[in-house]
Symmetry: C2
Subunit: 561 residues, 2 copies
C-alpha cells in the first residue's frame, strides 16, 4: 500500500525531499503543502535578481533548460502532488493529520500522513520599529520580496537606500543596489560588517572596500524609526543621525519558522529551531525536519549549530528522503562555512575562530598570511588573505577566514575539506595541491598558511596579527618596527601608522647588528615574507626579542599613514 508522505514547505529542503523520494521510494505517495505560490526557487539568487545580474525572476525557479519548477512540473516529472497557497495550521500527531488552509478558497483541509516532513524554513526578523510598515521598507527572503524591491528600483524613484543589518544578505544587497546605481548606506548595531562570521581584522578589510566605493557604514548605531511621507519611507533615524532613504532593506537576521512544530509539542532547541537527530528525525519518529527550521550539529565543536543555507537544506532533504525510504542515512553536520562576493572581493570562512575555540574549551593558535593568487609572472593574479586556526594539542585545522581579490572560494573549499577531514597543519602543508602557473603558485597560499602556522607553533617564528600589534601599542609597549621594503614600495603602498625604520632586505645582514638588543624588534614588509627573512637573520645574530607582523602592509586592515 502506498505510504503517504506529507511535506510542509516546498522551497529548498521540501522540494529536494520530494524529488529524492521519487527516486528512492517506489511506494511513496508524496504531497507538498507550500503556503506561497512559488516552488523550489533559488532563494540565494534573490540579491542577484535585485542587482540585475539575473534579468528574469523565472530563471530562479527554472531547471537549467528553462522549465519552470511549478506544481505542474512536480506532478508531471516528479509524480508529486504540490499544493501551493496552502498554509499548514496544525499538526495532529495522534491521528497523524495536518490541517491546512487553502489561501485561495479559504477552505480548511485535512492531510493525513504516514511520515511528515517539516521544511517550513525561516523568516526575516521585523521588529516593531515605528514606520517599519511604510512602503519601500523591505525584507529580502522570498520571491515576492525580490519582485517588490525590483519594482521599486525599476520605478526610477529610488535614489538612496539604507540597509539595516550588515550580515550576508545585507552585504550582498549592498553590491546589488550599487550595481543599480543607488547611493547606499549600511547601519548595524555592531561596529563591523558580517559580525557573526568574521573577526575584527577581516571586518576592517571589508570596511575599506565599502569606503573605497563611498558606501557609508554606520556601525554601533540603533535604528529608532523609519521616517515617512505619504506612507512612503523617506529616511532612517538612528540613535546618532538621520539618513535619507527612498528604500530600506531590513536584513537584521532570520528566525526559524517553528510555530507549527512547537504547537505540536516537538522538541525545540537552541536558536528556537527544531531539534533533529543525525537521521533528521524530530522527537516524533514519524516526523522529520530539515532546512532552515531545524538545528544541526557543528562538526568542529560538536555543539548545536543553526546554519540556514540553501546548500545545507538540499543536503538534509536528501537524507530525509533516504530515511523515509528506510535507507538509514545520516547527516554529519555543518561547519559554519559561508562565502560572499563583494564587488571585486570575496570573503569567506569555515570552522571556528580562535576566540570560538577558546569558548569551546580548545586551545588554539592562528596565523594571518597574505599571498599572491598566482605566480607574479602570470597575468590577472589577485591577492588572498588567510587566517588559519589550528588546535594546539592535536594540530588539527579547525577554522579559517579568507578575504581578497584572488580565488578565495577555491582555497576556502580546500580548507573546508581540511577541517572536515581532520587534517593537521602538517597534512595540509603536504597536500598535493594541483600546481601549474595559470592556477596557483608552486606552494599554494593554503600550503603557505599551513607552513607559517607550523613555524609559529613550533616556536621558530614569533608573530603578531594586526590586532595584536595594535593592542601592544595600546598597552604601552614600544617595539621597534623594521620595514624591509624598498623606499619605492613604501611610497606606493603606504606604511603602518606608527614610527618605523626602513632597512631594505638586501642591506639587512649588514645593518641588523646596529639594531638595539634591549627592545623588541618587529619586522614586516609588503606581505611579511621578507619580514620573516629578517626575523631569521636576527635570530642567527642572536636577537631573542623579535617577532614578525603577520600579513605585512597588504594584510594590514586599519588606517595607514
Amino acid at each position: 500500500m502506498a505510504k503517504k508522505i506529507l511535506i510542509i514547505g516546498g522551497v529548498a529542503c521540501g522540494g529536494k525531499t520530494a524529488a529524492r523520494l521519487m527516486r528512492v521510494d517506489p511506494e511513496a505517495d508524496v504531497t507538498v503543502l507550500e503556503k506561497g505560490e512559488f516552488l523550489s526557487y533559488a532563494g540565494c539568487g534573490l540579491p542577484y535578481y535585485v542587482g540585475g545580474v539575473v534579468s528574469d525572476y523565472k530563471e530562479l525557479m527554472s531547471t537549467p533548460i528553462g522549465v519552470i519548477r511549478d506544481a505542474a512540473f512536480f506532478r508531471k516529472v516528479k509524480h508529486v502532488d504540490v499544493k501551493t497557497r496552502h498554509m499548514a495550521t496544525k499538526i495532529d500527531r495522534r491521528s497523524k493529520v495536518v490541517t491546512a488552509l487553502d489561501l485561495e478558497s479559504g477552505e480548511e483541509k485535512q492531510f493525513p500522513y504516514d511520515k511528515l516532513v517539516i521544511a517550513t524554513g525561516a523568516s526575516p526578523m521585523k521588529p516593531p520599529i515605528p514606520g517599519i510598515d511604510l512602503a519601500n521598507v523591505f525584507t529580502l527572503w522570498t520571491m515576492p520580496d525580490a519582485l517588490g524591491m525590483r519594482a521599486a528600483i525599476d520605478s526610477g524613484k529610488v535614489k538612496k537606500a539604507v540597509i539595516v543589518g550588515a550580515g550576508l544578505i545585507g552585504m550582498e544587497v549592498v553590491e546589488a543596489l550599487c550595481e543599480q546605481g543607488l547611493d547606499v548606506s549600511v547601519v548595524d548595531m555592531l561596529t563591523q560588517p558580517l559580525p557573526a562570521l568574521i573577526d575584527h581584522e577581516f571586518g576592517n578589510h571589508i570596511l575599506k572596500v565599502l569606503k573605497n566605493r563611498d558606501i557609508g557604514f554606520f556601525g554601533g548605531e540603533k535604528v529608532l524609526e523609519f521616517l515617512g511621507d505619504n506612507a512612503q519611507v523617506r529616511g532612517v533615524k538612528t540613535d546618532k543621525r538621520e539618513l535619507e532613504a527612498d528604500m530600506v532593506l531590513m536584513a537584521i537576521g532570520v528566525r526559524p519558522n517553528t510555530a507549527l512544530a512547537r504547537e505540536a509539542g516537538l522538541e525545540i532547541g537552541d536558536f528556537g529551531a527544531i531539534i533533529v537527530d543525525e537521521y533528521m528525525r524530530t522527537s516524533d519518529p514519524d516526523i522529520f525536519a530539515g532546512g532552515d527550521c531545524c538545528i544541526g550539529r557543528n562538526l568542529v565543536t560538536g555543539k548545536p549549530a543553526w546554519q540556514p543555507m540553501g546548500s545545507t537544506a538540499n543536503r538534509e532533504g536528501r537524507v530525509i528522503a533516504d530515511n523515509i525510504a528506510g535507507r538509514n542515512v545520516t547527516f554529519k553536520g555543518v561547519q559554519g562555512t559561508a562565502i560572499m562576493k563583494l564587488f571585486d572581493y570575496t570573503v569567506g570562512k569555515t570552522g571556528i575562530t580562535q576566540e570560538q575555540a577558546r569558548q569551546n574549551g580548545m586551545e588554539a593558535e592562528s596565523i594571518l598570511v597574505v599571498d599572491p593568487d598566482k605566480p607574479h609572472f602570470m597575468p590577472q593574479g589577485g591577492v588572498i588573505v588567510i587566517k588559519l586556526v589550528a588546535e594546539k594539542k592535536t594540530r588539527r585545522v579547525i577554522g579559517a577566514q579568507l578575504f581578497g581579490t584572488g580565488k578565495v572560494d577555491k582555497r576556502l573549499d580546500v580548507l573546508v575539506g581540511a577541517v572536515s577531514g581532520g587534517l593537521t597543519i602538517e597534512d595540509l602543508a603536504d597536500l598535493d595541491i594541483a600546481y601549474a602557473p595559470p592556477f596557483t603558485t608552486a606552494l599554494d597560499p593554503v600550503t603557505h598558511a599551513a607552513n607559517s602556522l607550523r613555524n609559529k607553533m613550533d616556536g621558530l617564528m614569533r608573530s603578531y596579527s594586526p590586532s595584536e600589534l595594535i593592542e601592544k601599542f595600546e598597552k604601552g609597549d614600544d617595539p621597534l618596527l623594521v620595514d624591509l621594503r624598498t623606499p619605492d614600495e613604501i611610497e606606493n603602498q603606504g606604511d603602518l601608522p606608527f614610527e618605523t625604520i626602513n632597512i631594505p632586505l638586501g642591506q639587512f645582514w649588514e645593518k641588523a647588528p646596529t639594531l638595539p638588543r634591549d627592545r623588541e624588534i618587529i619586522t614586516y614588509c609588503k606581505i611579511s615574507v621578507r619580514g620573516w627573512d629578517a626575523h631569521s637573520i636576527l635570530k642567527r645574530l642572536g636577537y631573542n626579542n623579535i617577532a614578525v607582523l603577520e600579513g605585512g602592509i597588504v594584510g594590514w586592515p586599519f588606517e595607514k599613514k
Copy 2:
C-alpha cells in the same frame, strides 16, 4: 662549529633547501653547486615564456618585487654561497667530499660536507633519432631551452611546429605556440593526449579541443627521423607520414639525473630515481635527496611514485632542511595530482583511476558526471566533467579526473584533500562547501559526483560511462537509447552516434509504459540528470533492465551525429 651543508642543484628543491636552512639551522654553512647559470627559476613557467604570456624571462627568476634570485641575492639575503656553472662530478662518501668542475675556468675543486643534498633534477629524454641535433629541434626543460625557442619564434622564420610527445609539457607548449600564431601538430606513440594522466574518455575530450583549433594530432605514430636542410629542421618523418616543421619540440618525457648518486653507490629504485625515506634521506644517512631526482611514495597505493613537479620539489626541500637542522620532519608522499590549462579548458587529475586501482588489488567503482560550474541564472558559468573513483570496500575517494571550461582547479583541489584526508563518498557529499551563486551551485559539482557515486554503489542507479556504452555496442548488445531532451536541444547539441528514440521528460510518465520490457533501456539527456529522472520513473514502473548514460551528451567525448 659550523655544519657544512653542500647542495648539488640550485633550481627548485636545492634553492628551497638552502633558503629554509637559513631559517631553521643557525649553524648551517651552506654551499650550492649549480651547473647552469640560472638559479631558483620557475621551470613550470617556461611554456608561458615561450607563449608570450611572460614577456621577460627574468621574471621567472625574480622575487615578486623584481629582485633576481642570483648568486648575489643568495649570498646577501640567504647567507648561502652559490657557485653557478659548477658541475659536481663525484661524491666521495668516505671522506665526505664532492668534486666539481668549474665550467668557466675548467678547474676541478673539492667541496667537503657534513651533510649533502642531491637535488640534481631530471633531464628530458632525447633518443638518438636521426636529425635530432638539427637546429630548431628543442627540448623545453631549462631556461636556455626556453630562450632558444623564443629566439626562434622571434626570428619570424618559424611558421609550422611539430610537438613530439603529448604529455603535460608538450600540451602546454601546444597552446603557447598557437598563441604565437604558429601552425601546430602533435605526434605521440600513444593514441591520446596525456596518456599517463587521464583515461580514454578524457583524452578524447582533449582531442576535440585540438580538433576545434585545427591542431593535428597524430596518435600511435613513431617518429623515425627529423628532416633537415642546411642543418635546420624542415620536417618530421613518422612511420605513417611526413609533417612539415620549422620547429620541433621533443617532449617525450624526462628522466631523473642520478649518475652521481649511482656512482656513489646510493640506492636507486623504480623509474631510475634515488630512493629516500620519509625524512628524505638516501641510503647514506648523511646524504639527502629531493625533487625530480628522487622517488616518493604514492599516498593511495603506498607504492613508489615519481612525481617530477616544482611543487613537490619545494615541499621536499623544506623537509630536507628541517631534518638537517634536527627537526625530525617527515614528508607523507604524493598522490599524482596534475593540472593543465589548454585554451579555455582545464584538465586535471589526482589519485588513481579505476584501472590503476585494479592493478593495485583494490576493487573500485567510478562515475562520470557533468555539471554546470555555477547556477544557470548566473553569467559566465562553464561546465565541469568529473570522473570520481572510490574503493568499494571502504567507500573512500581514491581518485578523480576533471575536465571543462569551469573552475576545474577548485574542484580538483577539494578532491585532492578528499583523497588525502581519507574521506568516504558520504563525507564528500556532506562536505560543507562554500555556497553562494557567484561561486557554485547549491550542491557543488563535487557533491553531485559524490551523491551520484553513492547512488551507483548502493544499487539505486545502474549506469555506463561513454566507453562502457561503446563497448556494449561493440560486443553486440542492443540496448534501447532513450533521449529525454527536447527536439530543440537535440538539434543544437547533436546526438549519440547510435539509433535513439526521443521522449522529452515532461511526457515520460505517460509514454514510458509503451517501452519494451525485454530490452535494456539506457536513458540520457544533456547531462543525464533527466536521464536519471527517467531511470527512476522506469524503476517505479517495474522496469529492471535499465541504466543511465553517465554525463549525457555533454559528457560524450566521441563522435556525435
